[in-house]
Each structure stands twice: as C-alpha cells, then as structure tokens.
Point group: C2
Chain length 340, copies 2
C-alpha cells in the first residue's frame, strides 16, 4: 500500500541503496550521494508520502530501537503503587526523546524464566528492570541473547548499568532533620531485608544517630502498612522515658502504618510522635497529617536508566554506569517542623 524505497528509487531514477543512505544516516563507508541526487530522492519521498518500515530495517540491522520495561511481580502491590507509573513515564519520556519505543512486560511467576525469554526474543535491544529479585533468570537469558540490562534499585551485583538513589544519604537526611528538631529518642522502622534499599537507609540512620551521640533503635518492618502499625504499637507500649518521640520509617507506606498505630494509642502526630517517611509518594499529601518524606525523583530513575541503556546500545563511552541519584527532604506536617 504505502510507498517503499523501490518506488522512490524508480521515481528519482536512482538505486535503492542511494535512497537508503539518503533517508537514513549514511552507514556505508563507500557510498556517497551527491547533493543533486539527494535532493531528487528527498523530493520523491515527500511526494510519495514515504514511511519507513521499521520491521524490515530491524531485520536487516538486528536492531529494533525498542527497549523493554519489565514491571516486577509483587502481587497485589505493584498494582496499586504509583511508583511504577512514575518510573514508566520517565522511561518512555527518555526513550522517545531518543527515538526509541518501549515494550511493556509484566513479570509473573511463570514468565520469570522461559516465558520472558520467548517474549523478549529479538524484539528489544535492551531491558530495564526495576528492583528485580537478586537472582532472576532474566539476567542469564538476556546475557545469552546479548541484551544489555539496566537495573533500577536492585542489587548492584549485576554487570550492567545500575541506577539507584542515595539511600544512605536519605537515611542520614531524615534522621538529622529529626535530630535538629530536638528529638533524641528516634526509632527506625526498617524495610524488608533482601531489598537493596533497606540496609543503606538504616546505616544512614545509625551513623547520624551515633554522630549525634544518640543510641539507635531499629524495629522490624517490611515496607507494608500493617507491619509498620504493629511495630509502632510495640514502640508506643514502651515505658515513658524509653518511648521514642520520633520515628523514621523506611517508606511512606509503613510510615502510614505508624500513623495508624499512633492514632490507635490516642496519641497525635506530630505533637506526640514525629514521623518522617521515605519515597515521597503521592499519598504523602493525602494522609492526615501530611507526611514529611525523603524524595528520590522516581521518574528520574526511569529517565536515567533509559538514557544510560540507550547510550550503551549506541556504543557511547559511559563515564558512570552506576549513578547514584540525589535525594532531598520534603518537609510536611508529620515531622512537626516549621516549614522552611
């Protein structure tokens, strides 16, 4: 139906090769096109309303100009978390700015292995993974297929590029904020073990505490609301004097659970207990009191990952394949700080 290169070549009175080189960047070392023919070809293309067929191009070059984006399979959780929408937007934005398309995959129990392999087969040039399980078979599969993988927020044991947020600094930032507000007994509601962000955030907290001469108190958490609530209930049950007056939670969701617990105990935040969360998710502004949180530019993670991946695909020399993106403190009601 649509015009193809042959049609253009015929109309312009040239060869297909000249058309190919003219219409796309000259890849050939030995082929030059004179300004005159170039002009004829461009005009013919214009007149015929030529549209390149990317499929044919991909078959010939082995490059699809498509990168994959695999959503993790945290059942009934990823579903509702705005986090991934943000990452997705970052990825599609950066990709489309560089002329790439994005293929969306959802990881499920079955497709962790072979299914994924089949889906990926030759269809994408590279893959972006978000906080994958540390030993996903997808890595091997991509290596076999020669597809670079950029990982966001996973273990950085992987060979490919790895984008993460400065969790250690975030932990410090949150803790120092509470310390500066005069709190001494600050508890930390830590994240799920096995998730790469958990330890650095806790370490930042510990270092800030010991630098201030306060003793640290970490309590169990797993990033979920209810676990945050339960751990906080235990904290609130501590005898007066030992009870923390502030809590730094490893994410907003568990901070939210902490707020539940505080309310249940007849206490009030930030008056009785100050809270700082982590992620600055959208619901930080929905919760009552609004949640003071560490912001980590989620969309930037996606943008950066896509950008890095594409640079690698295009053979650029990469200075830093393991960037650590900066975090910032977003002050809201729950920390009891006067707005700055």
């Amino acid at each position: 139906m649509g015009a193809k290169m042959l049609d253009i070549a015929n109309r312009a009175g040239t060869s297909i090769a000249a058309v190919s080189v003219t219409l796309n960047g000259a890849k050939s070392k030995t082929l030059g096109v004179s300004p005159a023919t170039r002009e004829k070809i461009l005009q013919a293309a214009e007149e015929l309303g030529y549209r390149r067929n990317p499929l044919a191009g991909s078959l010939a070059t082995g490059r699809t100009h498509v990168i994959g984006f695999m959503l993790p399979s945290v059942e009934g959780y990823s579903d509702h978390d705005p986090f991934y929408t943000l990452v997705a937007n970052g990825i599609t934005g950066a990709a489309s700015a560089r002329g790439y398309n994005v293929m969306l995959y959802t990881a499920t129990a079955e497709n962790q292995g072979l299914r994924a392999a089949r889906m990926i087969d030759k269809r994408i040039d590279g893959l972006v993974l978000v906080s994958p399980p540390s030993s996903s078979p997808i890595y091997e599969e991509c290596e076999r297929q020669g597809i670079p993988v950029a990982t966001i927020l996973g273990d950085d044991t992987a060979t490919g590029p790895h984008i993460k947020s400065d969790d250690y600094e975030g932990g410090k930032l949150a803790t120092n904020h509470l310390l500066k507000l005069g709190h001494v007994k600050i508890a930390h509601l830590h994240g799920r073990f096995g998730v790469s962000t958990t330890l650095p955030r806790e370490q930042g907290y510990k270092d800030a505490m010991s630098a201030a001469g306060s003793s640290a108190l970490s309590v169990p958490g797993d990033f979920n609301r209810n676990t945050g609530r339960e751990s906080t209930l235990k904290l609130m049950a501590l005898p007066e004097g030992e009870r923390p007056t502030a809590i730094f939670a490893a994410n907003d969701l568990s901070a939210h659970g902490a707020l539940d617990a505080i309310r249940e105990c007849g206490l009030e935040s930030p008056k009785d207990v100050a809270i700082v969360g982590y992620d600055d998710t959208w619901y930080s502004t929905v919760v009552q009191p609004t949640l003071c949180s560490i912001h980590m530019g989620v969309a930037d993670l996606g943008r950066r990952a896509a950008d890095l991946l594409i640079s690698i695909l295009e053979g650029a020399y990469i200075v830093d394949t393991h960037p650590v993106l900066p975090v910032s403190l977003v002050i809201r009601e729950s920390s009891g700080s006067p707005r700055v």
Copy 2:
C-alpha cells in the same frame, strides 16, 4: 548465532516450508506434513534450540502480534494516578495470555499527531486508547494505517470497540446508598465537562433523586482535589436547612477535596456530611475517614479492551463491541453506613 529454519530443514532433511508449517500453525491450504517428517522437524528444532525470529515473521505476514497502549497526556495528573497502572496491568495480562506483547506510548502535545504516527508505523497491530480527547488525530492516523483502535472510557462516537463502565448505574448506586441512609439533601459534585463519564454519572444521580422525590443539586467540579474543596466550601456556607447532609462526588480525588473543605469548616465526615466517591482508587483506604466509593474494576477495563482488540485482530465474530462493565458500591467510613 541462533539456529534458523534453514538449519532445521537441513538437519531434518526437509524443506524450509515444511519447517515453517510444522513449527507454526499450518496457514497454507496446500501443504501437509506427514507425522514422520513432523517428528523429525520437531526433534531437530529441539536439538538446535530453535527460537523463532518474530521480526522476520512479522515482515512476511504484516502482523506483529504487538498491541499499543497509549497513556493520556493529562500533565502532572496521569503521572500520579494509580488508575493507569491498573489499566496497564489488565492490558498486559490479557495480551500476554493470548501471545501478544504490549508497546507503551505516552501521549504528549507534540506526538498527538505526526509523532504518534511515526511511532506506530507498522509496529503494532492494534491500539488501546484510554479516555482520549474526543477528536484525537490518532484516530484518523490509525484508520489510515488500518489499525483498529479500542477505546476505554472515551466518547463512543468512535467506530472501533469501546469499553466503558456503567457510569449511569454507578451514579444511581451511590445516590441510592445515601438515600437509603436517610439523607434527603444530597449534592452532586460533578466531573469535568467533556469527559464522557461526567454526564451519565450525573444523570444516574438525578434519576435516583427524582425517583425518591428529592430535588437534585449539582455543583461544579473537574475531578480535581481543589475544585472539589472549593465547591464544597460553598455548599457548607449555605444556610442551615439548605445545606446538604451528603455529597456524591464524581471521583475520589474531588471527594478528597470535599473532605478537606468539611474539615476546614470545623465539621466532620461522616457525622455531619456523608461522602461517596467514585473510582475506588487505592487512596480510598488511605484517606481519613476511609472513602466510600463506587468500584469499577479498572483492571477489567484494560483486560477487556485488550481481549476485544485481539479478537478483532484475529477475525473473530464479536457479539458486543461496546461492553459496559458493571460497577459496585464499596462501603467505607465516609458514608456513615454500618458495614454490611
């Protein structure tokens, strides 16, 4: 690198055509393969670890087995709304169950027209659009390219399949719930005009009110939190006796704004004003009080759209191209109803 059909043909001592027919469904009318050769081919494929190259297949057939999914461009809004993640999950789920992949696009101001066309070019078999502007150039472009478009929650003027939720019934359901709780003065915070869900929801509200012999009162809204807040402030300023004791908001976000306003007036929900929202978004459970809302199975919208689209692509006879998915009422604190 990997084995191709030619390699299999050589090893099995047959022709490429036999391999193609054996390994994929027999499309040819005139080609049969005996059980014996079939077996040889399958074994050779197994031994060589054959993987089909979908690109080459697509080039030959003109079918990619990829459907597109375009996120709308509502700046700074779609970013944060878990709604689209749910839709996306529904789509990828249904697509992958039927052997299709999903290409993710983000609509932006520039790519509404030509950019989108370029991106789509030959890469996808069909497209799913979510609440697109009623006269998007994308429709024309897809028509030109012969690509069917399934629309979720848009105007159903489009020729293609259209999946929507039963907004009229939802409006009725919400209103009847409040009526049954004894409310007489119930206001409706309507949605943005021009969005297809706005009018039916309002009509359902009006019909339920008039059936109950109450008079309707619709106030301006646009699905946003602050507008919901402002309209509600005006409602609360009405003289006692005229002030509504309940509000049905066209979505959860504006319901949330209504809660803001109620709190600002020193009132309390549900004690002073009962609220029912719409969408049953994730933050319905985050807000205080938790938000009674109409649930519309967002993931189902995506699932159904993908399913319908693929059926059309595969030439199935479609009974209902404009399904209306059922809604349900999710009772939570803000309506002041005892849990059922």
